[in-house]
Symmetry: C2
Subunit: 722 residues, 2 copies
Amino acid sequence: MAKTKGRVTLPSEGGFLEETKEIMGRWGADALRDSDGTKLPEEIKALDAAVYTTYFVARGHNEFAKGHMEECQQLYLMSPRVTSVDETVEIPFMEGYFNQQVVPDYFHDQKRWWEVMDRTSGETVAPENWTVNQERDVVVVNNARPFHEYTVSFLVYAIWDPTQMYNHITNSWGDKPHEIPFDVRQPASGQFAKEYLVQWLKDNPRTDVVRFTTFFYHFTLVFNDQAKEKFVDWFGYGATVSVKALEEFEQEYGYRLRPEDIVDNGYYNSTFRVPTRHYLDYMDFVQRFVAKKARELVDLVHEAGREAMMFLGDNWIGTEPYGKYFPEIGLDAVVGSVGGGATLRLISDIPGVRYTEGRFLPYFFPDTFHEGNDPCVEARENWLGARRALMRKPVDRIGYGGYLSLAYKFPAFVDYIEQVTDEFREIYGNIVGCRPYCGLKVAVLNCWGQLRAWQAFMVAHALWYKQTYSYFGVLESLSGASVDVVFLSFEDIRETGVPKDVDVIINAGAAGTAFSGGHQWLDAKVVAAIRQFVWQGGGFVGIGEPTAAHFGGRCFQLADVLGVDQELGFSLSTDKYFTSGQNIHFLKEDRKGPFDFGEGIKNVYALSKDTEIVEFSDGEVHISAHRYGKGRGVYLAGLPYSYENTRLLIRSLYYSAGQEANMKRWFAQNPLCEVHAYPDRGLYAIVNNSGEPQHTLAYDGKGHACGLTLEGGQVLWKTIGS
Amino acid sequence: MAKTKGRVTLPSEGGFLEETKEIMGRWGADALRDSDGTKLPEEIKALDAAVYTTYFVARGHNEFAKGHMEECQQLYLMSPRVTSVDETVEIPFMEGYFNQQVVPDYFHDQKRWWEVMDRTSGETVAPENWTVNQERDVVVVNNARPFHEYTVSFLVYAIWDPTQMYNHITNSWGDKPHEIPFDVRQPASGQFAKEYLVQWLKDNPRTDVVRFTTFFYHFTLVFNDQAKEKFVDWFGYGATVSVKALEEFEQEYGYRLRPEDIVDNGYYNSTFRVPTRHYLDYMDFVQRFVAKKARELVDLVHEAGREAMMFLGDNWIGTEPYGKYFPEIGLDAVVGSVGGGATLRLISDIPGVRYTEGRFLPYFFPDTFHEGNDPCVEARENWLGARRALMRKPVDRIGYGGYLSLAYKFPAFVDYIEQVTDEFREIYGNIVGCRPYCGLKVAVLNCWGQLRAWQAFMVAHALWYKQTYSYFGVLESLSGASVDVVFLSFEDIRETGVPKDVDVIINAGAAGTAFSGGHQWLDAKVVAAIRQFVWQGGGFVGIGEPTAAHFGGRCFQLADVLGVDQELGFSLSTDKYFTSGQNIHFLKEDRKGPFDFGEGIKNVYALSKDTEIVEFSDGEVHISAHRYGKGRGVYLAGLPYSYENTRLLIRSLYYSAGQEANMKRWFAQNPLCEVHAYPDRGLYAIVNNSGEPQHTLAYDGKGHACGLTLEGGQVLWKTIGS
């Protein structure tokens, strides 16, 4: 096979010219980038490659920022809860916050912009009943009710950019200046952002691609008084707030947001919260502003004849790539970090840009690239994990970050990435622009729908949480499966019903969260629409605590569809007779080992003998199926990611839709393998997702099987019909 | 020791005179009783013993009942849920019910007394939109909303007494007549109940004690169409309902109860439901009626010179022995079944009667008394389990039930019970009428308070449920512990605050249930009162999901007191740093093996470094303590009953109240042993609760210890100060 070239971005650095050239050759790189802590020297910029340059809009300009501290970014924070033991209570509201990151906003009228809450009664304390002591950063509440808990919601200025703060503290940067984040909504900052970019473009003629990291507002990241992370929400709008924004909001929407609309009991409208109307309005307000402002910068980039690329992360709030206004920004490209299949799809599915790029792992940093460690392990895991998603919808480019000089010291790693980049180009060449075979169309239903496509169950980007891994596996499984995936919100169902072409709806998550749906399930319109969908032949797969919202004698509002409900303790008086699992069932046909439901869900029981109990243990149902009209409901107690659980999900999807007879088309019998077909190209690939050789039956599009053995990690391309 | 006599009740039967005499002598029995299926012949009634005779008020008189079928007892039942697939839906409401137990009430106007519910919207369907087809037992709903679920709440007549039905079916009694339950609220039945008793007393001159089994209304027990139990609630008021009762209720209370007030979404106001105001009103209404009517019968018994004893069970609804009206019934005695310590205390603590009697296990039935089984095993377990409760508050008599002739075939059993009865009389003689030493006063707080003292967490009497055993252990532990136990309701707290003499409040149960408290925790008055109590030095022990009611950013409303809260998924964005348990802590000082929390609770986390984490595993806190003012909150994830967990609870109580220095008074260092002291009598007992010899340090009232070894099951009496 002839050596291919292109679609690969390499980090480089000073004093590393010859090696850069060598690796460019071996990996076929056609773009070079700087990284945090590195700059590309002119000699490298002069190589035959596009040059990406990192660009910060709203930080890294302290000379400007220091002159406009009243334009710093702001946040609403909630103080600690303080219990009144008599009628006066002092709330040291800054306690627990990091005073190098945030300082109280004593500039604006506190009586107008702050709020004291009685958290025990849920009531607001009248402003005449509290005063602010600015010397001590304390709010004093008078006429307090004894043994009630009080909090203050207060405005602060952010005086340190969270990402720089994190890097600064983590890497002990000492007296390196703290980068001050400013708010482009403010007049001087908005002006500065544009003027600086114009000049910067002039000053950086070799830059082909301006890599915005990112635009204006960082996701919510607040540190504590130990200079450690206190609160992190990758989706949080906390740092978009300002008095100016709130005033403009009121003017536009005709109502005023309360601090509580942002503070939200201290949850700060986490992505796990069922969003309120007010918060949705506010998000929309911010998104429109960000899109408009970002467009101005992108236009400047284009006017200078360069490309504009956005890094998906850091200051990305308001630029949600699946949001309504994202295409208006006019970006050429988005680049993001790839942790696995779902994060790859999060990037590769982004609409409205010319190309996407995935930054693969490991980052070339000493934590991985040190004596005695084999970086190939992480690289292989990352590649094989993301590759199955790539086979469904490829990013247009891949790249790496960090110190190339570090990676260069590991020849086996350089070899392995050479192989990866070749394989990427081969896959890309074979499938780009072509729709892979999808056996089913699957809709993931939650409060966020398309806006947070592939982003459900995340707190911090791609980090593991005990409370989420049992659900995140659903996305990871789907990311590389031979099904079409769409994301629906409850609002979508209300407005237009279940789309006609959807075969299966998945609802997964913990009770009360935005992903299960909480009180959205009390909307009879939603419930009836989904019942009708299943009755007429659709599938419904509920995972964890699907449709959970205790009402009307049900915990799961679609218990009738699922055939199971969760015992909350109220119906213990009703005998539960259906406790024996079926020995043989389509859902577990090729399961060899024990099931793994992750955290699992307690006390789920079958409603009647019509429920097919597939797994019953510890007095609970963990897998079941139930016919409902022409369709079926399938229940799974949890789905942490594994190849075996991907298979369980696939079986659940086909079974729920009553299409189990069609499952074995472009299908591998061995759960460690998958088949991806591209009928438009007349090609299909049999893929071994594991690192070891595997034997499998591979089924073609007509369901004919042939046996074959694949090497570890192999992708075997075949011509359809051959 | 001289042979003692008395305080023991023996079952006997025909043709067993000499053996009865022999066992009476050996066990010291001074009362004889009949049982289900046995009658005492005259020769046995003539023995020197009181004679108990079982008496049924509201069943077993079919000659009367058949002539007054319109006076049968009634229930409201909820039909199966039926989904409308178009605008008409038929609800076969009797489906799933046992037509030998209940028949629809077509006598009263269905439009007035029945209710059709749209369970999807929660709305009532207007009567003009449905009709009843009496031939087919179907309700037809018109103008239904597609894909909504509908139910009918309908009145039935009960035509078979549930206890007799159970025995009839279980023992295959074939064509033995079904006993029809009639309702003494109705005119003819009320009259009959009195007249029959008058005559019966005349016909049974040898009866000394009329053993009412019980009075008027059976706890809710409904069978399904397979003639198996469908719904059971030992506390359920289901069978107290009638059109007459509802009309009288409306007249007295000035508002009308809806069927839904009784049906309650199909939960039928289970004891696990936080009771509604309407249901509490209705209970009070029934209790007053039952007390008044029962008093009439008890008066007749007394006028005939006999004693009136009530069996605690079966038709006991409205006679709750801890209820306000119970003393008005004027009973001489209550007898109940003893399954362990808590059920013993349930009987022995009953106020307002001259004496109590516990029926111990095993029942002399072939299920235990058969070739190859040793009935001593169950007897010993039952005796040792209940004895520690007896040491706190003894029943006045013990007894057995079943076929004495069966028990007689097991000489080792007869020997063992001889020993038990002697030991019972020794204990009783030593402690009767005297208050044992109590190191603390403990209040168990739930929605029911005193009304259901010792009855929390029960579905069917003393049966094990997966969802309850982790809480029921609290009562079982307390039943034999050296602490004073009272039961408080939220209403008590609202009305009079926390009683001054209470040292510790326990709140245990699953979120949302009557035992945890559900929305009662949203009452700021309750929350503030308990905070103040702890702040001033009281203890608060929360078990499972204590104070759980998601509001104001908290799952546990007393998270501030407990120092822990439960992560529901909304606060994942907040970092949880406090994850390491303390190696040494008062709460686990003498714990040798691993902890057992039963079902456990997921995702409980410490709020701050001030929380003392005692057990942390699987990413969760399972035991913790937290100082709050002068008091403490202690959290336990669950407390299934064991001697080790009893010790953990005792430690939690003392620690929470800040009285850990006082724990080792009248205290055994070995958790399998306990010390009970009776200062008024100058006596104390060191008890080995296990069947094996145990060595322990025993602490006296001043905290001085001495070591000693006890035989298996031994009670060692000592004189204080000797």
